[in-house]
Every structure is written in C-alpha cells, then in structure tokens.
C-alpha cells in the first residue's frame, strides 16, 4: 500500500498549521497508521519542537535532497509511537534550497515508507508554499474565524485551484463558541459561505494546546481536551469515517433561539 500525501497550509501565519500537522499525525498514529511528518518550513522549523523531538535531530530535509544522507537516516522516530516519524526542516538554509520537483521526488520515495505523509507548509504564497503543495494528494487549509485569516485562506484556495489540485478542505481553528454567541466572531457558516469549500473540522480554542506545545506533547494525547477531540475527529474523517462535528456547547436556551430567528 502506498501513502497518501496531505499538505497542511494556510497563507496567513500563526493560525495553527504546525499544531494541526502534529496532532493529525499523532492521532493517525494512535489509530495504528504508519505516519511520516515532513516539516517544509525551511529556515523556521517548528514541528520538531511541537512533537518534542528537537533533541533527536541529526539530518534534515535538505540533507536528504542534497544527498548527504539516506531518507531513512533523516526519519526521526517518535518517542511514543514506533510507526510515527518526522523529517525535520533545515534551520540554517532557506526555501530556495528545495524546488517543487525535489519535493515531488521525495514524496514518491516516502509513499513506500508509510500510510500517510503529512507536510507542514510555511506561511505565505511564495516558493515555500509551492514546494509544500507540489507532492500533495490532498490539501488541508487551516484558518481562524477572523476576516484576515479567512481572506488569506481564500487566496490560498484560489492558488490551489490554479495548480489544478483536488479542491482543498478546510479546518477552522481556534473557534470561540461564546464569542460567536455574542456576535463578536465569525461563525463557521460565515466562513464557509465565503470560502465555499468542504469543511473537515472545527477546532475550539483550548488552553491545553499552548500547554502541550510548550512541553512537546501534542494535545490529542490529552483525553479531556476539546481541541484534542477535534483533531482526533479530523483524523478519523481522513480515514473515511463519518464523524459528526463536535457540539461546541452553544447555550441554546429559548431566548437565544428566539433572538436568532428575529436577527
């Protein structure tokens, strides 16, 4: 069986691409899948930190591409799951060290090594972004429910369409149910109306995410975390399961229902 390659991208920085990549990868590994994560954010590597693997790095993506090591040597095994590996980005190079065709070649080699390859894309719409999406079978666009993140997501989705890739799927990250309730935040429907793509998950704002990032332990490993649950659900949807969207605890009492009708 050969791997499916998924690229996580966003346009805007800081919306949660790396968090999403790490958590989806760990959740897939929890389900017994063989997963390789690839950090394509060359020069600004982060995925190793979020996964708690920075101390194990010897070789990186650019070493593989420039032939200084074999693919297997650059694949760092995760602490918790034997079938989860990370190929870190180079920290001392920039994105011009790699071309989109290098990435396609690397992706094809990785297909033999895993069931899933999850690529973490850099922010922006330049070379780094094109490198990251070049080998992708499927692209997940992460956005936050705010107008600037949504506009960048729109731009990215347009560029993905122009590359004639499969239509992207959307993750709405850092949703704040109470703020939506108060009318202070875009709700999921507003975002979907504008972007007109398929939704693959909504992840609530959750302070567990920050705590777990700092200790290098992805939040899906926290049973009680809502965000963790949301990422587990996204991974199950990638596997083809029908999973309903999380109930984000909207306080749907009589008055708010009534006021929504008259809004």
């Amino acid at each position: 069986m050969t791997a499916k390659i998924i690229t996580v991208t966003s346009g805007k920085g800081g919306v949660g691409k790396t968090t999403a990549t790490a958590n989806i990868a760990v959740a897939l590994a929890q389900m017994g899948q063989r997963v390789v994560c690839l950090d394509a954010d060359i020069g600004l590597r982060n995925l190793d930190v979020v996964m708690g693997l920075e101390n194990r790095i010897v070789y990186d993506l650019v070493d593989v591409i420039e032939g200084r090591c074999r693919l297997k040597q650059a694949m760092i095994r995760d602490k918790r799951f034997d079938e989860l590996h990370l190929i870190p980005a180079a920290q001392t190079r920039d994105k011009n060290a790699v071309s989109p065709s290098d990435m396609v070649k690397l992706g094809d080699e990785l297909r033999e090594e895993a069931d899933w390859v999850i690529i973490d894309s850099p922010a922006g719409i330049e070379r780094g972004f094109r490198n990251a999406i070049a080998p992708a079978d499927e692209i997940l666009v992460v956005t936050n429910p705010d107008v600037s993140a949504v506009r960048d997501a729109d731009r990215i989705i347009g560029l993905i369409e122009a590359e004639q890739k499969e239509p992207a799927k959307l993750i709405i990250n850092r949703m704040h149910p109470e703020m939506v309730q108060r009318g202070d935040m875009l709700d999921a429907q507003d975002v979907l109306d504008l972007l007109a793509v398929k939704l693959i998950g909504i992840v609530p704002e959750d302070e567990h995410v920050i705590i777990s990032t700092n200790v290098g332990k992805p939040v899906v490993l926290e049973e009680k975390s809502m965000a963790g649950q949301a990422f587990r659900n996204i991974s199950r949807r990638l596997m083809g399961d029908e999973v309903p969207l999380l109930n984000l605890d909207y306080k749907d009492d009589f008055i708010t229902k009534l006021s929504r009708i008259f809004k």
Binding site: S101, I125, G158, E161, A162, L194
Partner: protein, 231 residues
C-alpha cells in the same frame, strides 16, 4: 537591447526582459529556451522576465511548471502576455501580470474579447482574493467575487453571486454602465469616475437581486426589478 543569437526574440524593458515564444510544440520550445538560458547564465541570472505567447492556450500546470523551471535558474517570471482570454485567466490566477502596460508605461491598452462582436468576458468560477480581471466590454461572473478580488470593465459588470470585492464599471468613462449582483456586500463600487459614497452596512434583508447604477452624481443600489437599463 536585443540578443541576436537567440531564436527567441528577447527585448529589454525597464522592468526586465520580454521573451516571445512562437508557434510549435510548447514543451520543445520551452526546453530550447531553458537551454538558451543555461548557456547564458550570467546574462539571465536574477532577471525578471515577461513571456509573450501570442494566441497560445496554456493550462495552469504548464505555466506553473515553466515558472518553477525558471525559478530554478534564478529567473523570475512576472508576466505572461497572451491574446487568448483563457491563457490570461490562467496567468491571473497564478498571480502573473498580463498587461503590456506593466512593462512599458503609457499604452494602457485593454485586452479585447477573442470572439468578434461578443464583447463580454464570462467567468465561470468564484473570483478569490488576489484575482484581478480587466476587460474592454462587459464582464459576467458565474460565482462570487470575494474580498480582495477586483473587476474592472469598460462596460457593465454582472455577478450571479455575491459581490464582496471591488467592482469598477465604465473604466473608460461610460456613465451608463451598471454593476449587478445577487447581493452587494461591499462599498468598493465605482462607475466611470464616481465612487460609491455611503459606507454599506448590511441591514437590508434582500431576497432579490440588486443593481448599482449612476443616478446623476451618486451611485444608487436598488432591487434589480426597480431599475431598467436606459439606452
């Protein structure tokens, strides 16, 4: 500045180089061009390049592959000029410039429709942030126009969807042009040389299509059935 040895006419502009690619097999032409560039690395390195493909129809994959190949040689493709509306649309979605006026200042010539007589450009998709359409004639969009996208037409603009981006009708000064959309959710409207004055606040619940037109000095938005075009 003209490169006499090349079989590709290459002209120098203030912004960079303009390379014309003639008829014949695209892949073969590109291979030859790349070979030519490899042979004159010093000349081309760091150059900004516009490519004129005349009437050739190109797919997005072909253009982005060429751009990658050029980027590998440290040559950046910034514009793709074509008489084919399809190729232009491809270039625009890839964020490439399509206007000759971007190379040479002054000319400001607008692309015309290929099919004689039918001076309308029909776009069968949603225009997303970053897309820019400029056309001599009417523009019809079968989809939405999202924030950050813009349409400029010398004629009218018809959007079978929601207008959230920028629309400028009558860019050559015609004041009878209009902007029509199922819903107008933006204040970035311009007809001829007049801007929409009021900040648009979405309070009206509309179930009908809307039209914006120039009424004397100001642009007005009304239900489409309240406005019949005056000839």
């Amino acid at each position: 500045m003209i490169e006499p040895k090349s079989k590709f006419p290459i002209k120098g502009f203030r912004e960079g180089l303009l390379i014309t690619i003639g008829e014949g097999d695209w892949q073969k032409q590109i291979d030859e061009l790349l070979l030519h560039i490899d042979g004159q690395q010093e000349f081309f390195e760091g150059a900004k390049v516009a490519i004129d493909v005349n009437e050739r129809k190109l797919r997005a994959a072909e253009v982005s592959k060429l751009r990658d190949k050029l980027a590998d040689r440290r040559v950046s493709l910034f514009a793709l000029l074509s008489k084919s509306a399809a190729t232009e649309a491809v270039a625009e979605t890839l964020g490439l410039s399509t206007k000759k006026s971007d190379l040479k200042s002054g000319t400001g010539e607008l692309p015309h429709a290929l099919h004689g007589g039918e001076n309308a450009l029909i776009i069968h998709k949603t225009l997303r942030s970053g897309a820019s359409v400029k056309f001599a004639g009417d523009v019809v969009v079968d989809g939405d126009v999202n924030p950050g996208a813009e349409i400029m037409a010398s004629g009218s603009i018809y959007i079978w969807g929601i207008l959230r981006g920028t629309a400028h009708a009558g860019i050559e000064g015609s004041r009878k042009e209009l902007i029509a959309a199922l819903e107008i959710e933006t204040s970035h409207l311009r007809i001829a040389d007049v801007d929409y004055q009021e900040p648009k606040i979405k309070v009206r619940i509309k179930k009908k299509a809307e039209k914006a037109f120039l009424d004397g000095k100001n642009i007005k938005i009304v239900d489409s059935d309240q406005y019949k075009r005056l000839e």
